[in-house]
Symmetry: C2
DNA sequence: AGTTAACGAAACGATCCGTTTCTATGTGAG
DNA sequence: CTCACATAGAAACGGATCGTTTCGTTAACT
């Protein structure tokens, strides 16, 4: 059963360290934090939202559940941290001088990022979790979405400055653009699809 | 505890019948089916996706879990039946002669329907469930979406016939319109908002 | 030197899952 | 009329997960 951690725990999990992580005193242990985030990332990558459990994260990280709950009161806090860690490096909004080209390139990058990292699954988990828990929803709405929107808004604002779209329409266009990406992600249709992207982007990138 | 059904069950639940539903022979009992669907509907209406469990549905319906699993192998099948029962009557796509007006009216009706019946919560549950279960996703994608799209496509096709939008763009416009509604529903922003709707609809209803 | 806080292990009571076992019931075929 | 059969609901099962609590250990801070 390998459920007797004192003896068999180290061999059951792919944990890098076999020794128990002793306390480093009355302060947060960065090794524990890193191990938990990495375990959560790997678990989401392997099994997606189903199959993700705090118990399993704790097992893999060689951490105690109280340690997890101390620093991440809800699953969503954990999801957000995992997603944030991956997102930062990638995804620079392009600046080609044309809104349509910017959006096409950015959308392709975003979908590839969702496909090829655990982030797609993490984000789907975040949205799903938001349908069952109020804190999750407010985190998604007030913390997560605005941050992601910054990049997109940048592109649309540049387009508005060039006269490609009306400045008054930017908010509505943002909603439409986000909605497009959500539908495709949530219905698992983020395969490489330049034509589908292009058809939608053309509609968004033209002024009225 | 009121968990000893033979004696206290009838008083603990708001079940209409106090007597046990005996078998009516080697065929499906419509009373059991109705009781289960109604219990599921009420439970979703009261507590949404969280708080929804097969155990609780069985308790409320005065039904056995095997009976539920016999006829609805997964939760999704139950969600679909509940949603289908409510959806049918409502939501006739308007035909005002102008695409923008049609969309504005239809969107307002749809959101009101989502707000004022259990259907909004049911649909959110369906989408959330689709992020964890493959059968749920294919039901959503292959059965539910196409059906809903029929109404919307009708409006856009009429608009295309009038020259308000290009026929080639209808598919992309449908995706954008669905995405808009999904984002608003999933982030719990389907309050009455004629201006927000109008701003988006204007962008969709104008030909390029 | 004593207080404080973090760590991981282990176990807790609950809840839910999906399944199995049981008895009672009525249908429908022979 | 008889009997195989499918249904119904009750109850209980093993298993998983949740979020919390208890406990002994460790080291930083005062």
């Amino acid at each position: 059963m390998a459920r007797t951690p004192a003896v068999t725990g180290a061999s059951a999990a792919p944990a890098p360290s076999k020794a128990r992580r002793a306390s480093i005193g009355a302060r947060r242990d960065p090794r524990a934090e890193a191990a938990i985030l990495e375990a959560a990332r790997a678990l989401l990558a392997e099994k997606g939202y189903s199959g993700f459990s705090i118990d399993e994260v704790a097992r893999r990280a060689g951490a105690g559940k109280p340690t997890i709950y101390r620093w991440w009161p809800t699953r969503v806090d954990l999801f957000i941290d995992v997603y944030s860690q991956e997102k930062s490096a990638t995804l620079v909004p392009p600046d080609t001088g044309a809104l349509a080209a910017d959006l096409e390139a950015y959308t392709g990058l975003l979908w590839a990022f969702w496909r090829e990292t655990p982030s797609g699954r993490t984000f789907r988990a975040l949205i799903a979790e938001s349908q069952t828990s109020a804190p999750a929803l407010s985190a998604l709405r007030d913390k997560f979405l605005p941050e992601r929107l910054k990049d997109v808004r940048l592109m649309f604002d540049r387009g508005a400055a060039r006269g490609e779209v009306r400045a008054d329409d930017v908010e509505a266009l943002l909603t439409l653009y986000i909605g497009f990406n959500w539908v495709r992600l949530l219905t698992d249709r983020i395969e490489d699809d330049p034509q589908g992207i292009s058809a939608v982007v053309r509609l968004l990138a033209c002024a009225r």
